[in-house]
């Protein structure tokens, strides 16, 4: 690991100033991904700005009935919150499907959103990777890519975003709250992460000197019936091959409202708007659910070794919606 200076900040202004003072400084949250990447030589910040003692460790009720989740709230505390468990079970389930008990105890909300892909080539500094070293090439396209993207990838990068939490937040229509030298702004989670395009080194749209302060989850009455289903290669402590976050509102056998997002398919949590459009106002039955899945997955462009993900995503979505149907 390269040497770095450690700075602890206790107020927001100090954090933004400290990160702006050194071009390669990084914020430190729980460190469960960043410290590992530093040890691997993938990340080499000269300064770490520890933001875990900023006053962002609370989950507050918003006046509209939603929740404001502080960026420093630990994944395990968020999953354990009674309001999250009863109003947004999909979020609690997604968190609990990720990592291990020990890691969830320290991983933060902000850090979870900013975790890097687990593409083996990204983590291996001896191989080319456009995300780690722009212009060096993508080793995964011709290499081992059975768990890579089938939607929205580019010739430069076929990596997926690894977060489970972000998939639930995308389905719930949550928004990331940021602060930077120019002030505050809010970005929907679905627009926060980006597709790789020509610049896969940028996972998200936030600027280098912006800090995540919170994530706002808007009220969604029918989210009390919501599910996160994760398919992986072992029963626990593994990243998703495919995952689905869904909330479904069925009245008189018809879909009145629905929210769907996929994980494991793209460089970002994938909100399934085409599937939602097919479902709205239609019958809540298996035939319609399959039609909705097909409408979304029509755009899939699988790689040599991951065409299985199309069928897996299709059946996982159908099964999830059936489980949510009264």
């Amino acid at each position: 690991m390269e040497p770095f200076r450690y700075e602890r900040v206790e107020e927001m202004g100090g954090a933004v100033a400290a990160i702006g003072a050194a071009p390669d400084a990084k914020f430190l949250g729980g460190g469960t991904n960043l410290v590992d990447l530093m040890r691997l030589g993938v990340e080499r910040p000269s300064v770490l700005v520890d933001v875990t003692r900023l006053p962002f460790g609370q989950i507050d009720d918003l006046p509209d009935g939603g929740l404001r989740i502080g960026a420093g709230v630990r994944n395990s505390d968020l999953a354990a919150d009674a309001r999250v468990r009863s109003r947004f079970p999909v979020l609690a389930q997604a968190l609990l499907a990720g990592a291990s008990g020990q890691l969830r105890n320290f991983a933060t909300t902000g850090g979870n959103l900013l975790q890097r892909t687990r593409c083996a080539y990204f983590q291996d500094v001896s191989t080319p990777c456009n995300k780690r070293e722009p212009g060096s090439g993508c080793s995964a396209i011709a290499g081992e890519h059975h768990n890579h993207a089938i939607i929205g990838h580019s010739e430069r990068c076929v990596a997926t975003h690894p977060s489970d939490m972000a998939v639930a937040l995308a389905a719930l229509g949550a928004a990331v709250q940021l602060v930077g030298p120019e002030g505050e702004r809010s970005i929907p989670v679905v627009d926060f992460h980006r597709l790789p395009g020509e610049s896969p080194q940028c996972d998200a749209v936030l600027e280098a000197n912006e800090l995540i302060t919170a994530v706002d989850v808007p009220p969604l009455a029918f989210a009390d019936r919501s599910l996160y289903r994760k398919v992986r290669e072992r029963a626990s402590f593994a990243f998703a091959l495919v995952s689905v976050a869904a909330a479904l509102d069925v009245v008189g056998g018809e879909v009145r409202d629905v929210r769907i997002a996929f994980g494991g398919l793209a460089h970002k949590p994938w909100r399934a708007q085409a599937a939602e459009a097919v479902l709205l106002g239609g019958a809540a039955d298996e035939r319609q659910f399959a039609k909705a899945a097909d409408a979304e997955l029509e755009q899939a462009e699988p790689l040599r070794d991951n065409a299985y993900k199309v069928e897996l995503a299709r059946s996982t979505l159908v099964r999830t919606l059936l489980e949510l149907t009264p």
Binding site: L28, T32, D36, R39, A79, A80, R85, L96, S100, Q102
Partner: protein
């Protein structure tokens, strides 16, 4: 140039103030500077759980914890669990149930189980809890899921689950 920083920790009840390289993990500080070699270095990437200790009562991966970021914390390692000569109930249960073979993962397994049982006590759900809004009941399936961050290459899992069930 290495950068150094000072850190104060309370480890198994004893205060320590040290000047350390900022890169020092909590695991390396415990093992190399305090001679507490109970917590083990397995993968050094947060994937095996052999380095599990308790930070302020919560189970944690000490290989991915930068010591400097935990200034002021209360750390409990496997060496701090016994009450004098009396083994911690989980230590006794691991012996009773033959819950290990080579023993390398055992300190991490036991520290993880201590933290895990406290999480259950506080009503936390898990990935296998049917209704995340309800109080969990600690079945064998719940123990297996909650302990999935601790790998045992010898495969002593059935006896590890039995030992934890006895104490739960």
């Amino acid at each position: 140039m290495p950068e150094s920083s000072s850190v104060s920790l309370r480890v198994n009840g004893a205060e320590h103030s040290l000047s350390i390289d900022t890169r020092t993990s909590l695991l390396d500080l415990l093992r190399e500077q305090l001679d507490l070699t109970g917590a083990k270095k397995g993968c050094d990437h947060g994937q095996c759980g052999a380095c599990t200790v308790l930070i302020d009562g919560r189970r944690a991966i000490s290989c991915l914890a930068l010591a400097v970021a935990h200034d002021g914390a209360e750390i409990t390692t496997i060496e701090g669990l016994a009450d004098g000569d009396a083994a911690h109930p989980l230590q006794a249960a691991f012996v009773e149930h033959d819950a290990f073979q080579c023993g390398y993962c055992t300190p991490g397994q036991i520290c993880s189980a201590v933290g895990m049982l406290d999480e259950v006590e506080r009503g936390w759900a898990s990935h296998v809890t049917d209704d995340v809004a309800a109080e969990p009941r600690l079945t064998a399936a719940e123990i297996r899921e909650r302990m999935s961050g601790n790998i045992c290459r010898c495969g002593a899992y059935p006896n590890i689950v039995a030992a934890i069930e006895e104490v739960a």
